[in-house]
Every structure is written in C-alpha cells, then in structure tokens.
Amino acid sequence: MALIKLKQGSPAHRAYVWGAWLFVAFVIIYVLFAYRTGFAPGSIDKAFRITQINDVIAYAVAILGLNLVIGYSGQLSLGHSAFVGLGAYTTIILVADHHWSYFTTIPVSAALCFVIGMIVGLPALRIRGLYLAIVTLSVAYVFPTLVLKYGSLSGGPNGKKPARGAAKLVAPSWMPFHNAGRISGPLWVYTILMVMAIALFLLARNFVKSRPGRALVAVRDNQTSAAVSGVNLPMYKALTFGMSAAFGGVAGSMLMINQPFASDVQFGLTLAIFLVVGLVIGGAGTISGAVPGALVYVFVPYFMAGWTTDPKGMPPGLRQITKPLFDWLSHREGGNSISGVFFGVLLLIAVFILPGGIIDGLRRLRARFVTVVPNPGWLRARDGTEHAPALLAAAAGAPSQPDLSTHDIDAATAGQHPTDGPVDEISQHTMLRAPQGGSQ
C-alpha cells in the first residue's frame, strides 16, 4: 500500500500535480541558466551537452510521432526514420540551396511528410502486424538509397550542409545568454526546440484525448468492434500514419536546426530500429514515454562508447566493478565495439525489469508512495457526499497519474485502464460499473 493517499481534486492533490509540473518547468528553464549558475559543473558547462539535449528534444518528437502509430493505433511501423530523414532533407535543401529560413521550412516538411506518410500508410489498410512491419521497413531501407540516387539534390554521400558560415541561428539580444560565447547558439536552439516540442506534445496529448484519439485506441484494441462502433478504419489508419509522419518530419527539421548537416547513413535502418527501441524503452502508448526514450537513444550509446575508450568518466562504483573488463579489452582489436554489446545487454535488462517502459516503471514505483483516489466531479455532484466506498477501494489499488501522463492509456498494462482519465461521462459510467483490473 502506498504511503500517501491523495483524493482527486483535493487541495493536496492539486498541490501535488502543480508541484510536479512546476518541477518540470523549472528543469526546462534551468538549463538556460545553468551555464551561469555553475551548479553541477562539468554537466552543462559545455555547449556540446546542450547540443545533445537539443537532439534529445528532436528525437523525443520523432518517438512521439511513432507512438501515435505503434502505441495508440497499434500498427507496427518501422519506417519512421525515412520521415525524419525526409523532413531533415527538406529543411536542409531549402535552407542551403534556396536560402529559406529554418522556420519557414518546418510547415513544408510537416506537410510533405503528412502526405507521404498517408501514402505509405495505404498498405496498412490491407495488411497488418508483421507484414506491415516489413512493408514499412522497406521504406526505411530505401530512403538512404534515394538520397544517394538523387545526389544533385541531396549532396549524395558527402552529405548536405549550408555554405560555410551561412544560415547560422544567432540568439537575439533580448535573450539573457546572447553574449555567452560558444554556448549561446545551442541555448537559443534549445529555446526554439523546447517551445516547438511543448506545442507538439500538447497537440499529441489533445489528439489522443479527443474523439479520434479514442477511436485509434479502439482500432488498436479490437478492429472489428471499432468498426462496428462506427470508427472509419481506413480513414483513421491513414490519418494516423500521416500525423505520425508529420511529427517525424518536424523532428527531422528540428535535428537540422540543431546540427545543420544531413547524410544518408544518419537516417538509415539504425535510426529506424532505434526509434522503436526508444519507444519501447520509454513506454509504448504513453505520451511522456517519448522523453526517456529519446534520452536513452542519445545518451546511453554515447556514454557506453565513451566509457569503453575512457573508463575515467564512469560513475564511481560501476568503474571499480568493470575495471578488469576494460583492462582486458583495452589492448584488443575492435575492443571499442564492445560498447554495442553493453548497450544490447542494457536493453535486455531494461526490457526484463521494465516491461512497460521507463514511464510504466516510474508509475509503478510511484504507486508505492502516492495513490490518488479517484473522486470525479459528477460523483460528488450526484451524491452530495464524497464517498463511494466500494468503488474507491477498488480504484485505490491501481496506480493513478497526477501529471501529464494521467491521461495516457498504457498498452503494456492494457487491462488497467486508469479510471481517473478525462474520459467523458458515458464511458466513465461504463467503466465504473464494470471495473477492469484495478483491484489487486
């Protein structure tokens, strides 16, 4: 049982929710000033680390888009790297060859990827599951080849970048860090990308919460009953593919804003696979899972590779344990390749102990300390009292969510639909009459 019980809607619960959000906001804003305050030196004093965080933001948006297709509509799409690449190349070609501003290219790559995504989604109307995975995987496979094929447009194997010194984003003078030297550029990009990402996350959250969003979940859980309930399957499937591709395209544009250089291998099969890995590690079918997923994708291979060449940077403890291994590896041919093995092992462990992804793990962990007792407004209004003992007792055992992830429906724990989600009254009634899972 949890240590603290919070009644939904109570002042304590509100403070809890607001506190969580304020903490997130604090972290987001803190990064902008961290170079000055000097807290945790070595962590954010390098412009490069900010660049990496910017990459995390972009990949989080890509994973979020992928989540719409895989996590919410339940269609296995492995071709997302192609959309990220398409968005990236759209931006970089328009910026480098046609001297557009980065920002004006974003709607273009979003629109282009939306259309292409719908087209790629067409096979999804007829085929399902692993077959669809193979069809979409072929998209991921073909994309780098197309880049090479149309070298005059894409720069071919040499990659594409704006002319030297051109198209650099400079922080405006009203930003506090505009004269902070090398770090000011990445921080300005961070600001831009963070604003974009927040908007996109809100968009995705609202989409998922809305009627089409619930239709998607219905399609995922049972296509036949969704169709019987009046969900237009082809339209929703194609729409999801399009939206997801548009998110991917914007993510590609964001990557280019951060690091204006595109090359074919960057958007190959590795990215396709790792986006899915990031999705699963973060938590499929959750909005917030995209963030830990992207963190893992950007930072874990980076530190793994760094530690295999230079174990000095490892956290103490881990370093002492692994020292014999690294001493043994350091004089071996291809010793560096071991970082890939470590990453693989880590993924295995993560999948075993966090089957629902990091977000699910965090929720289960939180459920040990804090429980939010559902107390929806309609219940209070009808009874005039604040008790519905049997229902509340049943719901209390289930983990519930006070933050943004409140409204996520978790694919991995499909039996446990959160009862405090913002579902409309009819479904709430239904759910309460026949509580699913929940009690333990």
Binding site: I44, G155, P157, N158, L295, G361
Partner: protein
C-alpha cells in the same frame, strides 16, 4: 512480493544510471578534477626528473637539430628511422618562422593572422601543457568499418615509443579517439564535442572523405589545426579556403596524373583510353586528374562509363566499354567494384586492354582473393604503390620497418596486422610536425603546429625510397605526389600473386600546388557530376 521489490530496485538503478548519464554526472566532474590533480602532481615530479636528466639529453637534441639545418636530415625520432635518408633540406631557418610581430609567419607565402581570423577566445596553447599534447581523432572503431579503428591504436603505439623516449621536449603526446562508425553526421558530432571541450591542440587524422568534409568548415572557423586527414581527396589542399586543414596521403587526382605520366613514358604505343568511374567525388577526381596530366600527350579518352554506389554489377558498363576496344582501361572505383571490374575485364574474350586500377583496391585478401574463388586471377592489373609494405621480406632490414616490428611486438600488438603500420606512418608525420613546430619563434603552439604542417621537407621513412614528403605554404599543399607503378603478377592461378615494380619511380612533387589546380582541371575536364559541382561551388563560395 519479494521479487517485485527486487525488480523495482533494479528499475530504480537503471533509471538512475540513465539520469546520471544524461546529466553528465557531477561525480564524473569531481573524479576528473581529482585525476587532473594527480596528473598535475605527477607532472611536478616528472618536471623535476626532467630537470635532472636535461643535461644528458640536451646533447642529443642539439646534435639532431644541427643535422636538420646542415644535412637536411630529419630532426625527428631516434636516429635509426632517419639514418641514411637524403632528405630535401629546409630553405628557411626556423628562426624566421613562427609568431613574429603578432602574426604566424610561415613559408611559401603562408601566414595566419589569428587575431583577425580566429574567435576572440582562441587559445594558442590549448591542449599543450608542460607535460602533454592532446590530440583528437574521429574514425570508425565499431561497426562494419571497425577495421580502420586499428589505425588509432597504431598511432598510439608510435606515440608511446616517442613518449617513452622523452616525448616532444618532455611533453607526452596523448591521442583521444572516438568512434564515428564512418558516419559523417557522427563525425560532426564527435568533432563538435572536441571543439567545445577546449582541451585539444589539434585534430589528427579524421578518417574518410565525407567525414572530413563534414567538419573542416567548423575546424577552420575555430582555428583548430585539422591535420593529416586520412583520405585522398584533393580538397585537403585548399590552403586559401581552409588554411587549417591538411591531408597526407597521395591524393586521387595526382594518382591519376601518375598513371598518365607512366603511360606516356613506358607505353607510348598505347593511345586510346576508356574509364569505368565511380560516380562521386572520388571517381571524378581520378577522371579529372588523368585529363589534367594527359593534356598535350597522345592519350585520348574515348569512353567513360560511370556507376552509382547502388549498382548491383558493372555488366552493362562493360558491354559498352568493350565495344570501343580501347588500348587502356582505367578502373576508377573502390571496394567490391574493384573485384567486379577485374572479373569483367578478365572474362572479356576479344578485348585485352592494359588495366590500371585505383590504389585503394590494393588489398590482396579483400579484392583479389574473391577472384580466385571465381576461377579468375586479376593478373596483369597495374596500380600505384607509394608506401613500403611491411610484409614484403625485402623490407625486413629497413630501419623504420624493423623498429615497427620490434616496438609493436613489444607492446603486444600483432605487427602482421598492417593497419597498425598505417597508424605508424600518420603518427610519424605528426611527430615530425610537432618537433618542427617546437623550434619556431614562440615555441610549440597551435599556430606553429599549422606552420610546421605547411613546411614539411622530409623523406618519410615509410615512403618508397626516392619519394619525398614536401609541403610549402601556399605553393605546395600536398605532402607526397609520387609513386611506383606495380603489376600484379600471378604464377599459380590458385594462389594470390604479388605486385612487381614496373618502370621507374615517378615523383610529381610540387606540381599539383593547391586545390585550385584541381578545381580548374575539374572545370576543364567537364566533370559534370552533381557532387563534384556542388563541392566546387561550396568551395568557391568560401574562398
């Protein structure tokens, strides 16, 4: 219940690791500081030790430097490597090179006004302390191209030899390398990190053409010496646009020039030439280099067939080529296409041209062994060689190769793995540059390192005897421009053959000048591939 608790604990652990990793871990910072504190302490003790031994070592150092000025022999490593080399002497005294009146003044009209061209916080001695010189390298050390990563181990192995012998005036050379999986975007990420770390004196040997091109703008904007790029595109000689960037190996443009020179000299009876060209910068560099050098001769290109990276085979191209029946065939491609091209030409019944192939196809195990498996040999294919082969028994007594065998074996590396030797070659040049830079006005700093890289006058001990390694400011930006034509000779068709020298050594040292020559020649040759045009356009904008 116990089980779930355990898994939760593990979950927390893993998440904490991720978070720690993401934040860069403040503990990491402290441990690094602690480490540097100890290094500083160690430095203090070694400094004291150096002071005591200084008297002994000065004699040797001064002796070596006298040799440089008088005999022109290299002032570099232990005498064994340079003994007997008739190196071309430097024409300018080190006293006239270096930081003079606030400007780095080099040879051959090369100078660097770092106050004007560099960022305001540019630090000339970044990465150069009393005890260390820090260098950074990005190359593939994991994934499909991991084999190249051994070059870094080879370089470190040679640096260890130098460091154990006292380093560069007591400074140890430290080479940090990072894996980029041969992906240009990752190279860029790695180099951005290195540039931002403010701890490296120079970039040393970025491997791959596209990889180098992805970062050379940033390196130059940052005034970071971007030395000895490990690929052969001629762009690395762009002194005007990218003064901080150099290559080292023979470039593809010059290699094709060597072909033309060799053909006119050794086979004046052969007139018509056809080419099979990789449709990228690499292939077109050969094409324009051959045109450049065959201008004014009887050689005439009658057909050029190109192929893309994605071509499944070269059959179509060879059908067209065979119909022209030219005297000479140039194979301007790399990788598995080398093998395919050799197979196509050997299977040809009626057309028997003289075949010259890119030196990148020289690996017997990689490119010739598959032919034997097909019942072919690849015999009588010509290619240019310019480095000594450490596996060739004839080189066993070569001082540099003998030293290579001795030291790598002593360090527990396998000397038969010749990629280590490649590392040794690059490291040798780097050490040479650092030693020379230390003799310039203002001492060893990043500006002088760049001047030294543009003022090389050596017979690199790894080059074939007779070849030279010379750079001279804005006059000559390419290290070596010579080679030896060799013919692949097979005695037993079931076994790998050997390369046998054909004709005299050709040295075009100093003839290429800078990248401008190549750009002009490419324009004249009508190299129409988009990539080349785009690359040229970019460079024109920047210059």
């Amino acid at each position: 219940v116990r089980r779930t608790r355990w898994s939760t604990a593990l979950a927390v652990g893993v998440t904490a690791t991720f978070v720690l990793a993401a934040c860069g871990s403040s503990k990491k910072a402290t441990s690094t500081t602690a480490a540097s504190a100890t290094t500083a302490a160690a430095a203090a003790t070694t400094a004291a030790a150096a002071a005591t031994t200084a008297a002994g070592s000065t004699a040797t150092t001064s002796g070596a430097s006298t040799a440089t000025t008088s005999g022109g022999s290299t002032a570099t490593t232990s005498g064994s490597t340079t003994a007997g080399s008739g190196a071309p002497g430097t024409t300018v005294s080190p006293k006239d090179i270096g930081l003079i009146n606030g400007v780095y003044k080099g040879t051959g009209g090369f100078s660097l006004d770092t106050k004007k061209i560099c960022p305001s916080d540019w630090n000339p001695t970044q990465g150069i302390s009393a005890s260390e010189i820090d260098l950074f390298q990005s190359l593939p050390s994991a994934g499909a191209f991991a084999g190249f990563g051994i070059i870094a181990d080879g370089e470190r192995s040679y640096f260890k030899v130098i460091n154990d012998a006292g380093g560069i005036d007591g400074r140890k050379i430290v080479l940090d390398s990072k894996d980029d999986g041969y992906q240009p975007a990752q190279t860029k990420t790695n180099v951005d990190e290195a540039l931002g770390a403010n701890k490296y004196a120079a970039l040393d040997g970025i491997l791959g053409s596209a990889n180098g091109l992805a970062v050379w703008d940033e390196a130059n904007d940052d005034c970071m010496p971007n030395l000895l790029n490990e690929s052969g595109i001629a762009n690395w000689g762009d002194v005007q646009g990218h003064p901080w960037t150099t290559g080292m190996q023979l470039d593809y443009f010059t290699e094709a020039s060597l072909w033309a020179t060799w053909l006119t000299k050794e086979h004046p009876e052969l007139k018509t030439v056809s080419e099979i060209t990789y449709n990228n910068d690499f292939g077109q560099a050969y094409h324009s280099g051959f045109n450049f050098a065959s201008k004014g001769t009887d050689l005439k290109v009658v057909d050029q067939e190109t192929h893309e990276a994605t071509a499944p085979n070269l059959t179509n191209q060879f059908t067209t080529l065979a119909s022209k029946k030219s005297d000479v065939l140039l194979i301007e491609t790399s990788g598995a296409f080398c093998t395919q091209a050799m197979a196509e030409v050997e299977k040809e019944a009626t057309w028997h041209p003289l075949v010259i192939m890119s030196s990148t196809c020289g690996s017997l195990n990689q490119f010739f062994q598959p032919l034997i498996d097909q019942g072919l040999t690849g015999k009588d294919t010509y290619l240019i060689q310019y480095f000594k082969d450490p596996l060739d028994p004839a080189n066993a007594n070569d001082p540099f190769i003998a030293q290579y065998y001795k030291e790598t074996a002593a360090q527990g590396l396998d000397p038969k793995q010749t990629t280590y030797f490649t590392g040794w070659i690059y490291a040798w040049v780097m050490v040479d540059i650092l030693k020379n830079a230390a003799t310039y006005q203002g001492g060893l700093d990043r500006g002088n390192i760049m001047l030294a890289a543009r003022n090389v006058h050596e017979t690199n001990p790894a080059l074939l005897p007779g070849l030279t390694s010379i750079t001279n400011g804005e006059q000559d930006a390419y290290f070596s421009e010579g080679g030896q034509m060799a013919k692949y000779t097979v005695t037993d068709p079931k076994k790998l053959g050997t390369f046998v020298k054909s004709g005299d050594l050709i040295n075009l040292e100093g003839q290429l000048g800078t990248f401008k020559t190549v750009k002009d020649a490419s324009a004249a040759a009508g190299a129409s591939t988009a990539t080349t045009a785009a690359a040229a356009a970019t460079t024109t904008k920047t210059t």
